[in-house]
Symmetry: C2
Subunit: 354 residues, 2 copies
Amino acid sequence: MNELKNDRFIRALLKEPVDKTPIWMMRQAGRYLPEYRELRAQAGSFMNLCTNPELACEVTLQPLERFDFDAAILFSDILTIPDAMGLGLYFTEGEGPKFERPVRTGGDIDKLPIPDPEIELKYVMDAVRLIRKNLNGRVPLIGFSGSPWTLATYMVEGSSSKTFSKVKGLMFEQPLLMHKMLDKLAQSVASYLNAQIAAGAQAVMLFDTWGGSLGTEEYIEFSLRYAQQVRALLNTDINGQKVPTILFTKGGGQWLEAMADTGYDALGLDWQTDLKLARARVGGRVALQGNMDPITLYANPEVIKAKVGMILEKYGAGSGHVFNLGHGILPDINPEHVKAMVDAVHDLSAKYHQ
Amino acid sequence: MNELKNDRFIRALLKEPVDKTPIWMMRQAGRYLPEYRELRAQAGSFMNLCTNPELACEVTLQPLERFDFDAAILFSDILTIPDAMGLGLYFTEGEGPKFERPVRTGGDIDKLPIPDPEIELKYVMDAVRLIRKNLNGRVPLIGFSGSPWTLATYMVEGSSSKTFSKVKGLMFEQPLLMHKMLDKLAQSVASYLNAQIAAGAQAVMLFDTWGGSLGTEEYIEFSLRYAQQVRALLNTDINGQKVPTILFTKGGGQWLEAMADTGYDALGLDWQTDLKLARARVGGRVALQGNMDPITLYANPEVIKAKVGMILEKYGAGSGHVFNLGHGILPDINPEHVKAMVDAVHDLSAKYHQ
């Protein structure tokens, strides 16, 4: 880690002492930034930004020019793997991602390939290499993937869903088929994250955006089990440097104990989960990342600062906390409010690390 | 309760012995029933069904003709109170409820009246009286209201919302105004539910549909506090008969201990919450209602029966469980699958009540 000029984020994930609580923000490279919107307009489409390493690099670095974030996160989409599997990812304005060829039958599942990240997803690895080079040790770079369950929801539904009736239908009626699909996805996700690590990602995060749509039994069997399989397959020792891993299940606050047993170094928390109780529940086994309500950023800087103070106090003294929102920042937030949050985290957290 | 031919539902809520676990279903009078869709088409609009006591009564009784449900629930909308306050409720196809005059300023809040249920909401009370008469003691009738917080979200947003940015903005930046509004709503909700009880409702349920959008601190301060205020204002002793009360916060599984301290007889559970753990956590203070994933009803009857068995086993032996879905039934469910669930609950639960 000697190469890093700012290693607070890595140290906090590993529960090593830090001077201040590190902060980064889900979707920190995104539409709330005018310079992002400009580049997005030039690129013509969201996927053009993702698939062009130079543009993905530029977008990744944009928020670091404005704010004192302690980590960068690869600019990409969570659905790159199903796209590389041949499902035909596309976006329609205001409706979110869709697939031309959703997965519906056992035959569809049998045909799913496990992509080679340096071939079908080479554009992602090229972006990781370029970002890492351009970061030049300023802050660590986070790689990421959607979780097997979350990828499966989009792949079976063919789009976003409010009810998940198709993917849950498959799960309830043909659990063996569902397991076959999730096993392929776990192998693909692990291979993808290992390639990101080899290309230069210094931490990796698994986004289980839709695990919270499941009942407890189904979450353990169909989501967490495959998050754990991914973890077991990761190479997290790079020349003696540990690459920390983060697991985030939105809506998963009731399952933190089980999540803490899967080998990830840290858990992401949504804003509904009480950070103080969460710390007590995981009992020091993992670091915690979160968890301000993204809507707080609509409020004025004084309110934001007060809420930051409350969250830092909830975690309390000692390392093991990475400040973040509980979900991605919304597109119409004033960037000045982000600055208020970032600065408040650094200003107000030093006393918890003396 | 002597008048009731089937009082399983009331007894289970009060944790008195029962022969079988009672079951009813959120939105049991609704679009999945062809006879409902027919009446809805004749009525011309959803609100015409709600505001016509004869039609509301007919719709309420429809599911009882098909299924062996242990309770009827008043057919109405959760937004009748804000409509009675003069906000102008209307529905647009596929977009959910909206208000012509949303609440945005302190002046708007000052002007909100507390409706007289027997004047502005007389159509609801007339429906309750008619349903109760037509039920003739067959099963108990459940009255209901949206919670103060949930009503406030619609009143401030002016419609459904994914982010709740307007109502949370008010909450974060002008908490005193928000409290003023919620206090008026708590008084209005209590008055509305007391009128339903006086008109014949034999149990009442508070639907806190959007409490789960809040962080823990905000949930306690802006949602649960007013659910508790409502409870404290309810008249639940009608000629020596106890009228049980149910509190349901969708997404509130992390806050059950606090919810169990508010004086409600029972808590509704969404399907993400583990019923066995929930029973242990509330420690006998309240009965529990729930909590099958509504999507389970897409599966075949054998799968449905197996899931019913698992949920009954989760609760285990003894009274205090009312079977239900974890949220409302979806419009495209096959009614035969509902029958499979209802019959399975009665068939499989007897052994837990010996």
